[in-house]
Amino acid sequence: MAKTTYYIPVGPIHPALKEPIRVEAEVEGEKIVKVDVKRGFAHRGIEYMGMKRNAIQTLYLSERICGICSISHPYAFVIGSEKALGIEAPPRAQYIRTIIAELERIHSHILWLGVIAHEIGFDPLLFWTWKGREKVLDILEAITGNRINYAMYMIGGVRRDLKESHIKALRDMITYYWEFTEHMKEVFLSDPVYKARTRGVAQLSKEMALKLNVVGPTARAAGIRMDVRQDIPYDAYADMDVKAIVPQDIVGEARGDAYDITMVRLYEIEQSLDIIEFCLDNLPEGKILAIPNYVALLNKIKKTEGEAIGAHEAPRGEVIHYLKYDGTRDGPAVWKVIAPSYNNINSWAPLLLGAEVADIPVVVAYIDPCMCCNDRVAVVEDSSGRLLDYSYLHKKAVEKTRKLEKELGVRR
């Protein structure tokens, strides 16, 4: 009797998936008949660590949760902390925070567009979009000093001010991206092959999206008008009326497939440009920190008993932080982080069932997964099953480097 089903493992190391997660699919011909998602390959115990540190350390630790949306977690953290502590950031700081968050959304969305192009085998588009993405990364570097992990936010404000030259550069960037986004829309939305590969793939109905608790562009593509910036606004978003971008507003109907999500992301780039422009036009003057003295801030936190939810609309969806200060420590007593991918990965199993092997990369990539979770105990064993400890591995690594240096004739 011939075997009719194959078992295809995707990840934790697979060209379609540059993130440590495992999808196990059973395949009959080209159809997937059984699917299982395994997570937790990069669990680092960040929440646990955060509950042992002070609030400012935790703030920058939260930045390390995710490499791409690295400002989203600090944003939710500062919003939550400010709500719990009852302090308000100065107006100028609020606007600067919004600008940084929107810059990040632009670079994250362009990154996704490149990735999805790569997943369907359209590498030239990947190169082109990522070349366009460099501009916003340069701006971020100019403003914050880093391409990622900006370390810009502080509870009650921001750490760096925007200078006149920054504002000029930002305005140039906006002009550049209006044009670039126009090109991208043309390329992505009117390309027949792109349409053929994404139309009807990863299709999520509105009802299913609600049940699966998905967030962000994934939910919006399914037609749910859900956007933290609109539902419970904060900072500069509260001064403008942000409207959730849904496909039914653009083309009349929402199908919730990978094509719709592309559309949502493309239009969100334009929305971000509008938001940045608004912020620059209305940028208030004044100081940038509510409590400039960090020791005073930590003391205040130590004396505060309170809890709050901080929410931010990250490029991939809603980031929610629950914080509790118990009045004894200068850090959070309870800290719970929900990243967008935490919810969005829920959609993989139902979407992959009955799909084709060729759709795996698209389904997997369309939510723009980002494994930001907590510690796996690192235990390395050698071939005989003997445990190797940290100092031994470090010693070996140093030896190897020395050997390489010798071979290559590099002088230290």
Partner: protein, 322 residues
């Protein structure tokens, strides 16, 4: 056996491999430049082959060992044989008279088949899925390919490539037949990337879906042989296209009156130039401007649209010839 045949038997494969790899290098370079990258040096494919030959050849535990090892050799041998059937410009094909277009069709198929069988034999799920896809794809594109060849047979009343190469096809067909040949060319251009497993039809090797598919388990010498046969196949396929559709020689175009060695060298270079231009247009440009199709989309394209184009071409030719 004349000295000439011995020269051909040894010289042609070497020249073919050289040219195949050079064209591959140029293809990679041009593709990189089109996407604003610098790209590898043109000699990179040579380094790649050299590196692969030095590497260990791993055979997976649950592979069928002898099939797994035999298939790269079969693919390489068939691509070498294929070279011997292709006339270089005015230089006649070494094996002329021993086979014709139908043999070429089979030799091209044989390579894809060897890869598919190797994929099935490697015992990896990725390879199996890749091999299945290759089989489906093969069944789809061989049909229009065969129709194109039938069209030429109708015009020349012969399957012999030398006959076809001796007279440009455009000079013996009328306006109706010319339109037919044009349609055949379009169909053939669609078949080219599929035959060469290049984007948008590299479905069987889709890197992001099934991790190189049929080739997933191949390494070292085996992979080098597949690499070489792929390079040679690329060159041979485009050369065939040039012979069929653009057979214009220098002397024919410009009325040059060369003779002896000068004639052969000039015509040879001219032929290589034509192949290069067509290679860049039909392979490099196409693969840089398309995304990968899904297998059922690719099947539909070939079974429905390309078949219709090819059949229409044959009907037009037939209407003129009859």
């Amino acid at each position: 056996m004349t000295p000439e045949t011995i020269f051909y038997a040894i010289g042609m494969p070497i020249i073919g491999v050289l040219l195949g790899l050079v064209y591959k290098g140029i293809d990679r370079r041009v593709s990189a430049r089109m996407t604003s990258r610098i790209g590898p040096p043109i000699r990179q494919p040579f380094w790649d082959v050299g590196k692969l030959l030095l590497k260990e050849t791993v055979v997976p535990e649950n592979a069928v060992r002898w099939i797994f090892n035999a298939m790269p050799i079969l693919a390489f041998a068939s691509s070498m044989t294929l070279l011997l059937y292709i006339p270089f410009g005015i230089l006649r094909a070494p094996l002329e008279g021993y086979g014709d277009l139908v043999v070429i069709l089979y030799l091209l198929t044989l390579q894809a088949l060897a890869m598919a069988i190797g994929g099935f034999a490697s015992g990896s799920p990725f390879s199996s899925v890749g091999a299945q896809r290759e089989m489906v794809l093969m069944m789809s594109y061989e049909m229009p390919f065969a129709i194109v060849i039938t069209g030429f047979a109708l015009i020349y009343k012969s399957f012999s490539l030398s006959t076809i190469a001796s007279t440009p096809v455009w000079s013996i067909v009328g306006p109706l037949g010319g339109l037919g040949v044009l349609l055949l060319l379009i169909a053939f251009l669609w078949v080219t990337p599929a035959e060469l497993a290049k984007l948008p039809f590299d479905i069987a090797e889709a890197e992001t879906e099934i991790a190189e598919g049929m080739l997933a388990e191949y390494s070292g010498r085996n992979l080098a042989l597949f690499y070489l046969s792929d390079a040679v196949r690329g060159f041979a396929m485009i050369a065939l296209e040039v012979v069929l559709f653009f057979p214009f020689t220098l002397s024919y175009l410009f009325g040059l009156n060369l003779s002896g060695a000068a004639l052969y060298i000039a015509e040879g270079l001219w032929f290589l130039f034509k192949v290069l231009v067509l290679y860049i247009l039909a392979v490099t440009l196409v693969r840089t401007s398309f995304a990968r199709f899904r297998i059922e989309q690719a099947s539909r394209i070939f079974w429905v649209y390309v078949n219709i184009i090819a059949l229409l071409g044959v009907i037009l030719i037939w209407a003129e010839v009859m």
